[in-house]
Structure formats: structure tokens, C-alpha cells
Symmetry: C2
Subunit: 425 residues, 2 copies
């Protein structure tokens, strides 16, 4: 595939086709130097996202002694001058395309064009933020983005990719059809496949989140990062450990998609039992062959959180910080609110609000049906949309510690997503 | 009242008791010097809120030619270095207590303590952000805050004020009872009454929003500010006109509470026909006797927007900017999206996302009933809450340009507020 060892790295679920050599080569090429180069490369195209604070959450996370005064949020610019206790939220939900994905996509596309000026197109199969990010990154670099999407994808997702200039090819809604169709496009149009996370160029791009954190915040005790496929986690962890080795890197994931925790404990990559049932759409993915070795080397701990903890954290961020986040981003906040986190006694913490959407198409048909005719389409005429995360109304397997609480949660499942509100479910 | 001409300024609806002398004195004491002094005074207690951008909204407001690339948001720190076209959102929704109100309250309390170190208490009647802001400001300055609230106030609002250390005295739910009870408290405990907006100290505090904008953003064509009582508008306008006289100051308000527009056109203060029906709770208030003369002198234009425009803008900000705002804050965004705004050809604009809640208690009983037993109480145990804005489900008198669209809106009225979602209306 154009001589790039990772240019057509298959998803980890079919990783047998990736050689050990390939993995080693890929992992070793994610370094702080690579991340700094990525930062220079993507600077014109992405936001340096703000670090915000919220007294209420700070109080909840660090304990009452740590802070002064009421609610609210906002640190801008002067964050590096601040010392002492604090919880800082790295707002990748305010990033272009609504997620950190644009960082990795831009780095991959830019590097690709630099190494091979003849390249005319990038290819991917995804309907999540990666597809939109890759489409925008390609447009910004004058390349075509060929995106494979299942034929039953919700209109809003299709419109979002098209809005960023992506050219969509529809396929049957299964993994094999997606891969086959992507292969066909590669054969027909040439170009290079860009994986959403298991690609060193993408990981270096996501790592710029960690670079910015280390530059803006000195003396951090811990950085908390949600983990799905591990692109954001591995890149950020490499940057943090290179620049501030004493800072603990903590991964956060749903109990219901705890492949990272189990991998961490076993010392070898474990898969989720497919398909994981969690509101945190973006974190259902398994760790990748590029990301897992990096995570094993750099991450200190994995904290897993229940579905009710994710929803509580989501509400707190919306209520208290006035930020709209996706459930995946709430996972890191939920981890900080767990008793085992409080026991560590951290005084200066950064939490990445990732803003990530599912790239996995399995079992989505039912949900997609519900997404049709949403108010998003109505108010924006289906033009240039960015899709929203949706809470999986059918989510099963949540922790059942408290039946009454569970009952309440079922009722509240709909509260986050305007699509459901509009339908008055 | 302790020798402060504005210390017990009654609401504008009973303004006959305020002398012309008093008004002139008050208005003339709101100056850029006063605002700069306020900034120094409140700096330790409030956030310098960030300026965020959103490509999608920028595109919608300035036209397609003005920008590059996709959605997302975020300017931090380096805003003053940026030149050229742009729409910048001044995020007072990320301010402490969730609104700019803390600025005015802090300035008033701080100035009061400076002028009269013996002062032990501040008094107000309010259940909106002002009550919470004053309670926090008083606590931060070691004073008592005595807050009069109607006895049927929602628990969440009571808890919010108590959470910031306010001492609540309940009264009958009408304006006369509120004023009488406040007077009683003043007689019994001493202290000083702090009006939510019609007080020069408060106006100077709110004016720090304009000061920060002028410091952070050079060469602005226009600043857009929602107007209710006019504290934020008048203070910000004074700062902007003093520092960048060529910047146009544009007020935004609901068509259904258009006292500012009618006052502006008539050249004299006009009142709303009580009570205005709008989702923008915080903008129902009439202009004050301090604020109106300042507005007349400094504001260039008033744009009024329909209820459907407010709701559309609210959705766009939540969907595209990932920010939770109250309907009052959406009014400024809605004004920028109107055709008459586009016709001006502005290229560099700042919109204040105010984050403001109603201070007016009239006709709230019905809504308050709906607020009871909200999930806020459940998830936070009624401790130290900050209240949320609510969309007035019973809102009448919205523009009826399109029956079908109106029908849709009724369905969607509930989407914003988790309280309603929880109840699956």
C-alpha cells in the first residue's frame, strides 16, 4: 500500500495480517520528536484548545480544602502561570470537527503529501469523527477524501462527511464489506488508507494534545485520558512522559468496554467481547496494534467507570461547566470522581474532554433508525452538518447496584440528545 | 440609605421616587475610569472569560467568503494577535456563578467595604443569578448576604443561594412584599441594598466585560450585547466606546420584550407591557434609571429577535460550539444571524454570551411547580447548586409567521432543559 507500513493497517480485530516487525516499527516511530513535528505541521489547521476550570468539579475531585469560591469555569492563556491545586479540562470538544480526530487526520494527510506530492486521495471507512476529520484534513491539503460508509448510515452523518468535502461510497453494513469496498477504492483511485487510530501518523497527531498540556501546565500530578482505540491515549501519554516524567498518566474507560484495563492487567492485548454496550460510543473500540505497545509502556493506571457514573459526570459537565460533551468525554471526568482517584491525593490534574464518536458500525441499525428526521436536519437543511453523539437507548449491562437508581437512569437516558428530546420519548 | 444614592434604587417600574439629580449623578459616575477600577477590584474573584470562535457560526454570520475550514471553536490567549475577519464569543456563561453578574456584585461589595469598613451585610431581593452572585461576592469579602426570596421559590434556587452562603428570608410572591421585606431587613440588620442592575457600582462591574473585549480584540467592527435591565449593555458600551469609539455597539433583545428598542426609537425610556412572554428569562426586565441614559448615549442600534430565532440560535450554539447557554445568551447570536445584521458588512464582531437569569419573580409560580423534584436535586442532593435557566413552556405571543414551524417549535420547546427531559414531556 504505497510503501507505508501502517497505511492500510487493518482494525485490531483482524490483526493477524500485521507483522510483528510492522508493529515494532510503528511503535518506535511515535516519539516526542514525531509529536513536535506533528504540532508544527498541523498548527495552521487546528485549534490550540483552551484549558477550562470548574470550581465545583475541582472541589468534588480534589476535596473542599483545595479551592476558593463558587462554580464557573475558564482559564485562558495564563494557565502556565498558575500553580497550586487545580483541575484543568483540556477542551478537545471545542476542537474543529468537535474532536481531537482532526489532529491525527491533519498530521497523516500533511505527512502523506510531504512524502508523496503525487498523492491525490486518502481513503477510510468510518462514519464517526474520523471520517469528518479526514474529509476536512484532505480538503485543507487539496486532496480527495474517499470515505466508505454503510448504506444505512444516518443522513446527518452522511451530510457531515459531505459537508467537509468527503466523497462517500456506500457499502453493506458489515465490517467485511467496509474493508472490501475500501480496498476496491484504493485499487481504482490509488491513494492511501488512513486508519482512525492504529497509524503512527495519526497517533503523533493526537499526541499534540499531550504536548499542549505539558507546555501549558507545569507540575501536573496526573493526566486523565479516555481510551477507545487508544490513539489519543497513546500519543498523549508519550508526550506527557517525555516532557514531565513524574506526571501519572491514567486511562479511563467504561466497565462495559474494559479491554484496556484487562490488557493492562494481563500484560497483553485483550479484546472486548463484541459488541460492548455503553453510552460512551467512542470507547467501544479495541486497542490497536500500534497503540497497545505504547500504552503498555507509558500508562500508569486504568480506571473503569460504570454507565451511571458516566451519565452523572456528563450532567455535571453540562450543568456546571456549561460545556456540551459526548458521553465518551465524560468517562475521564467520571474516573476522577471515583473513590480510588481521591485516595491518590493528587492536587494538580488535567482531564482531557475528548469529544469522540464511534467508528464502529456494528449493531447500529436500530439506533440509526431513531436518528432519522432529527431536528438537526430540519434546522440546518442537511448541509454541512456535524453529527452528534447519541446515547444508546437500548444500552444493557449497566451496573445494577441500585434498582431504584437504575430505574431513574432509564428515564433519564434521553436527556442528553436533542434528537430524542425532539421526539419527546 | 447609607448615603449611597443608588444603594436602594427601586426597580424602574416604580422609578418615580428617583430624582433627576440622582439619575444624572449615577450615570455620570459610570466611566471608563470607574470600569478600570472595577477591573482591578474584582480581578482576584472573577474569571477573565475566554473568547471562543466557531467556524460554522462565523460562516453564517459573516458569509462564506470570510473563513476557512470546518466547525469547532476556541481562541485562547492569543486573540489580540489575530486580525482579519472573525466572530468572537465572549463566554460569560463560563463565568463564576454562570453569569457576568458576579462582576457587578463583586465590584459593589468590594467598593462598599472599601468606603465603609464597618458594613456587615448586603441585602437584595432576587432569585436569579444576582442573588447567587451577591451571596458569593459577600462571602468572598467577609460580609453577610441577606436575600429576600418569594416563599414559593424552587428548591434549586434556594439551595443555590444558600450554597454560596446567602441568608434567605422568604416573603409573599409579589413585588411589594419583596421590597417591604428588604426594607425590614435593612432596618433590622443595617447593611446596604444592592440592585441587580440599576446601580452604578454594578454597572461598572459589568463594564469589565467590555474592557476585556477591547483589550483582547483590536479593530472590532461591532460588539453585540443582549439587553434586559441594561447593566451589562450599558457598562460594556461605555467601555467599548471609550476605548474603541469606531466599534458599533449593538443591543439585542426579544421582540416580545422590546422595551430597549422602543425606548431607543422614542428617545425616552419605555416599559415592557408586563409581563413579557419570552424564553429569554433574563431579558424580561425593563431598562433602569441608571442604565437607560447610558444606553441612549452609547448604543448605536437595537436589534430584536423572535422566539423562533432565539431557539434556533440556542441550538446552533449547543450543537456547533458545544457550549451550554441560556436562552438570554442566544439572543445576541440570533441578532447576528438576522438579515439586517448581514447587510452591515461587518467583518470582525464580538458577541457576548451573557448567561443571565431572570430576576423578576412575577408569574413564575406555574413554572416553579414544574421545576420541583428536578434531577438537579437528585444528583447533587440540593447542596451548593447553581440553578439552570428554564424555557418557559407556556410561552405565548411568539411570532406566528409559519404555522407549521410553530408547531414544530412547540414540540421542541422542551429540548433544552434537562428538567423537562427527565420528565419525558
Amino acid at each position: 500500500m504505497n510503501g507505508h507500513s501502517s497505511s492500510l493497517r487493518p482494525p485490531s480485530s483482524s490483526s493477524s495480517s500485521v507483522s510483528i516487525e510492522g508493529i515494532k516499527e510503528a511503535s518506535s516511530s511515535v516519539s516526542i520528536e514525531g509529536i513536535k513535528e506533528a504540532a508544527d505541521r498541523i498548527r495552521p489547521f487546528v485549534h490550540r484548545t483552551p484549558l477550562l476550570r470548574c470550581s465545583f468539579l475541582e472541589n468534588s475531585i480534589l476535596g473542599a480544602a483545595a479551592l476558593v469560591g463558587g462554580g464557573g469555569a475558564a482559564v485562558n492563556g495564563s494557565a502556565d502561570e498558575r500553580e497550586g491545586p487545580g483541575v484543568f479540562f483540556k477542551c478537545e470538544n471545542l476542537q474543529k470537527v468537535g474532536a481531537f480526530k482532526i489532529r491525527g487526520a491533519c498530521n497523516a494527510v500533511s505527512l502523506l503529501k510531504q512524502e508523496n506530492p503525487e498523492t491525490a486521495a486518502v481513503v477510510t471507512h468510518s462514519s464517526g469523527n474520523h471520517a469528518q476529520a479526514l474529509a476536512l484534513a484532505a480538503r485543507l491539503h487539496g486532496l480527495r477524501a474517499l470515505v466508505v460508509m454503510p448504506k444505512d448510515s444516518p443522513k446527518v452523518k452522511v451530510a457531515a462527511v459531505e459537508g467537509y468535502g468527503g466523497e462517500i461510497t456506500f457499502c453493506e453494513p458489515n465490517q467485511q464489506a467496509r474493508e472490501d469496498t475500501a480496498d476496491l477504492l484504493l485499487k481504482k483511485h490509488g491513494g492511501t488508507f488512513i486508519h482512525p487510530y492504529d497509524d503512527t501518523r495519526v497517533v503523533c497527531g493526537q499526541g499534540t494534545v499531550g504536548l499542549e498540556i505539558a507546555q501549558d501546565l507545569k507540575g501536573l500530578d496526573a493526566v486523565v485520558i479516555p481510551v477507545g482505540g487508544g490513539g489519543l491515549l497513546s500519543g498523549t501519554a508519550v508526550a506527557i512522559k517525555a516532557l514531565t516524567p513524574t506526571t501519572r498518566v491514567i486511562a479511563a474507560e467504561p466497565v462495559n468496554a474494559d479491554d484496556a484495563k484487562r490488557s493492562f492487567e494481563a500484560g497483553e492485548k485483550k479484546l472486548n467481547e463484541a459488541p460492548p454496550q455503553t453510552v460512551a460510543d467512542g470507547l467501544k473500540t479495541n486497542l490497536g496494534d500500534v497503540t497497545w505497545p505504547l500504552i503498555r509502556q507509558t500508562v500508569d493506571e486504568v480506571i473503569s467507570v460504570s454507565e451511571s457514573e458516566i451519565l452523572s459526570a456528563l450532567r455535571l459537565v453540562m450543568e456546571r461547566m456549561k460545556l456540551v460533551i459526548e458521553p465518551s468525554a465524560a468517562v475521564g471526568v467520571a474516573a476522577c470522581l471515583r473513590p480510588e482517584f481521591a485516595e491518590r491525593g493528587y492536587k494538580r490534574v488535567c482531564v482531557v474532554l475528548c469529544g469522540e464518536e464511534e467508528d464502529d458500525e456494528e449493531e447500529k441499525k436500530e439506533k440509526e433508525e431513531e436518528g432519522k428526521g432529527s431536528f438537526l436536519e430540519k434546522i440546518e437543511g442537511g448541509d454541512g452538518l456535524r453529527t452528534q453523539s447519541r446515547i444508546d437507548v437500548k444500552a444493557e449491562g449497566r451496573e445494577e447496584e441500585d434498582e431504584e437508581e437504575e430505574e431513574e437512569e432509564k428515564e433519564e437516558d434521553y436527556w442528553y440528545n436533542p434528537r430524542y428530546f425532539h421526539r419527546k420519548l
